[in-house]
Symmetry: D2
Subunit: 340 residues, 4 copies
């Protein structure tokens, strides 16, 4: 079988590097170009940790779109749309955008690439918007409840992310001396991923269930329930650990809740229900998501975890690529957990 | 002035060591004995990091209660009460118990030692129960709202603690290989500190305000609002970072909430309101607590931080000792923040 | 082609877990049993981080040696030899021992499994002693110089290891509260891996070169040059970072030294020369070793790095298994670097 | 007694902040100004972690030298000399320079401020050059041997530093995502602190002992023994852990070596000999240095540890200030070890 020919834009960034790390071992992929103006001519291993001895691939300043089947956009947010205005990409070339530019439905044809709810649309799409890292983790914790119409009160979400979520550019809050042993909160109740979370929750909810208000657009105090999301900065590099507290109208047996989650993810390739409480390193360096739920009276506490660079970005992008090209959904993604 | 003569029981544990580290520099204190059966005869610096060159103090198997003014109980939980059944401590000797044995009111005369609400009782007491670490941090975030009668809905509390909170004994969840870069949840909604938190919140609330239910005793679904507390294990050694989300009956101006907090802590020796968002290392290695609040519609998000071994244990115990002996409340507690 | 049927003894320990993590994705392997008396009947994912959703494999108390082609010994040191005295393993079954029991030549037929120097013997052997982690890293830094007869003065070796090198059992020096942000030295000049290091260096040296003295057996001050090895405990979980300082009889051009290293490793499957200084995370979570050398007058400073659980243990064991069964040396070992 | 009036230049940097953290609790000091052009008017707690609630001190753009007794230069290296060319500081005002500008003897009157060897000169000086962090730690490990004339062969020095040694400005090697769990080497054999180390070793050596060559000026291969110094970047924020391996002409009894160290530091205020092996956190957040030695045949292995920001910078500067003003050498420096 002919391999999928891949082009990568923004290849010198964090997600670019992780994408190369994944794709060089993907059995069905051939990396045709890894574009980075500023690094053109350099070996990718000069920029990206861990690639020495794995590949002699070099960054290029070219973007030969006619020679690829799919192109990954690993730009910063907002740059994908700008890029498309200035460059023409042949209609036959599929696009997977890792930025947030096309995640919200609008006058474009990008499919929101969360395989747990959109597998078929993904398989048939030409253009894909890859979900955000927090958004992926939080949605995986909430979607089964949304679909069951059980989201009827404001939802309390607390999620801590590793430093790679903040990208490659050094900043005060990613300075080692500050971040190590530290813990802090940011974008309290106003994280931009709320948009896509609300979009998915509303998409799945039965019509009788209350609308989830997008507080970023509508503000607080409007009609609809809210997702009260507190993001934290953790002192580790990889992973997102999330708890979602859902208040029910009336108590439910724990077994029923658990079964709902198991059913919802029964055919998911990388998302699994865990019978036991979770710890973050179960998923670090893998494309997996794990979900666990406990019930206390009318409160359901869900825990969900992912690796922000993999299931939260690059791994999910490759999973989506696999679906878009009819490959095994797990191809190239049987990654050994770092575990320690 | 005569120095306060101090005896320490359980001196070889984490809190015992930290207490010695603080007291050897306390200008008004003389450590008379540091008891540890298993280490009797050894230098305290053989057990406790950081004391070599600071003191030649040795652990003793003796407990000469007649030679001290106050004794600190640094036992594990449950052992203080047991110890008192088997040993007689002269009535003239004050007791400061760092365990949880006497924190809940009952047939004993121990004062709950949170100076922010009990300064006068502490100053006059003979026996003191030092608050728990999580309990201190969470209460400092909630007390001003409780007093103002603004706790009228279930409260969402998320708090992450450092590994020293788990004590000295090696365990699977304090093994470095597991804990580093990891994040996990434990005692979901059932942490034992809920008892003392509820006790204080109910003590302060105006009679018209709803009762805070102690879900550990009463279960969920009973009358009263609940404190829904999710404790997390962080991958750092010192500190507690806590967020408390309070739902109001109606929106309040942010300035009003901020002023309430500032007023409440205006005379506190170690608890301060911060105008800016917090990060944990602001308080690490100090006896300080910092509190910050933001308002989103009907939701108030409070952040509170402490060092679990200091304001959450030993530092607060020394602060209480200072009050009990009429010393400057800050004596011996002007600790340089580690900051990095 | 028929898959290699594998049995694992000591499957519940650190190396046992890592071996399972690697082998479940190995295309040519079938795990027949993973033995652990104390965990028999439990899922391996109940013990080993990262395996939930990857495999339903269970620990067994059985050891059906007649159903496997190779058995991995993942016991603690000294237990392999003891086990073999009490159990009979069919002559047709290959053994790969990860402990140190058979690393030193003696009245046994175990081949020392360092592929960089013993590839052919490994390919033809029935019994294999897998090298130690420090030993692997240090040898890879020194072997080219040994072979060239350039080790003529005492060698200064400094190497820092991650906490997983200390195994699974909790101990004071692996307690998170102690180890995090800490750094310390242990087994100064007396680490047990010196035996195998000396054995290899002497095996490779030209007859005219001085003997490397095994100071653990002979003490200091005897005839021969010494390897002065200082092992450090680092505050990370995975990896070994080693510097070896070699004093030459006379200065050599840097290019000559570099070329010697490149030549020596030109056909190595996982060991590469880096033109640039190294950092540990280049190899973490991979089976790679990287080596770099700089020259200052008569001093050559070599840096060598590996992941202690992979190239330092399990990865190298699988690499050896591949050679022993005529498989591609890299089969199952194209592991994505964690990088962050 | 009148307090020492202090001015601080470069007060917004790492050492500036740490100096303020120390001096606000110093019983004999009054901070008159903390200069920082770019932060003038801001509270110091807006920049420096841990100072909220401790002081309302503000950064100033003024430098009223006539109102202070001493001024601390917390500039980057090279800027102290430049500053003095453009500004006049009254002769009566003492200067303590934390940069490296005046550490090497020349046409200036700055005393090299290592109290362990220069206590008297320090007490009588007007201008002081505070030693470097690595330089302090390495010298404390070597000085007793130098004085005894026992440094007769090249010395192998390996030292790992925390990230605060690299200063406040974010860089690739201080990015959390890169540095955490990582380990690397830099300025191999060429670290600039070699100058001051050689200067002190030569100052103390008996005339019969070989000269220590400053390889940075003279290159390798010249006359004299060398200090072969490998600096490492550790993944912690504070502290330097150093091993020095000294080769003797003939074996010495271990007790003799130990006694030499104890004697040398018998009157030191902050440097102590430890009978047991060291770990870094024994000194973190203190002004202490600990030293330990072991003997193997003709090799002596010394371990020395300090906190790079305290004994390696600010703490030692305050210790020197204490000596310069006839105060208790430990005044303001009884800092509680963070220990965890």
């Amino acid at each position: 079988m002919k391999k999928v020919r891949v082009g990568i834009l923004g290849a010198a960034g964090y997600t670019g590097g992780e994408l190369i790390r994944v794709l060089i071992n993907h059995p069905e992929v051939n990396i045709v170009f890894a574009n980075s103006e500023s690094n053109a001519g350099n070996k990718v291993y000069d920029v990206h940790e861990g690639l020495l001895g794995e590949t002699e691939l070099e960054f290029t300043s070219e973007m030969p779109f006619d020679k690829v089947d799919v192109v990954f956009f690993c730009f910063g947010h907002g740059k994908s749309e700008a890029f498309l205005k200035e460059h023409e990409i042949p209609a036959s070339v599929k696009i997977i955008d890792l930025a947030q530019d096309f995640r919200i439905k609008g006058s474009h044809d990008y499919v929101y690439g969360l395989p747990e709810i959109h597998r078929e649309q993904i398989a048939g799409c030409q253009h894909l918007a890859n979900p955000g890292c927090f958004a992926t983790c939080i949605q995986l914790g909430l979607l089964p409840m949304a679909k069951a119409g059980l989201l009827t009160h404001d939802i309390s979400v607390n999620a801590v992310t590793g430093s790679t979520g903040a990208g490659q550019k050094p900043a005060a809050t990613t300075h080692f001396s500050w971040r190590t042993d530290n813990f802090s909160v940011y974008k309290l109740f106003t994280h931009q991923h709320l948009h896509e979370i609300c979009q998915s929750l509303n998409e799945l909810r039965p019509s009788a269930s209350p609308r989830v208000a997008d507080t970023l657009n509508e503000g607080f105090g409007t009609d609809g329930i809210t997702v009260d999301f507190i993001p934290y900065r953790g002192d580790f590099s990889r992973g997102i650990f999330c708890t979602e507290v859902i208040t029910l109208d009336a108590p439910l047996p724990a077994e029923k809740v658990v079964e709902m989650y198991k059913d919802f993810y029964s055919s998911a390739a990388f998302t699994h229900y865990s019978e036991k409480p979770l710890d973050l390193k179960q998923v670090v360096n893998t494309n997996k998501a794990l979900v666990h739920a406990e019930v206390f009276g009318r409160k359901v506490v869900v825990t969900s975890i992912i690796d922000n660079l993999l299931k939260g970005a690059v791994g999910q992008a490759v999973q989506n690529m696999n679906l878009m090209f009819g490959l095994d959904e797990r191809a190239g993604l049987n990654l050994k957990a770092s575990a320690f």
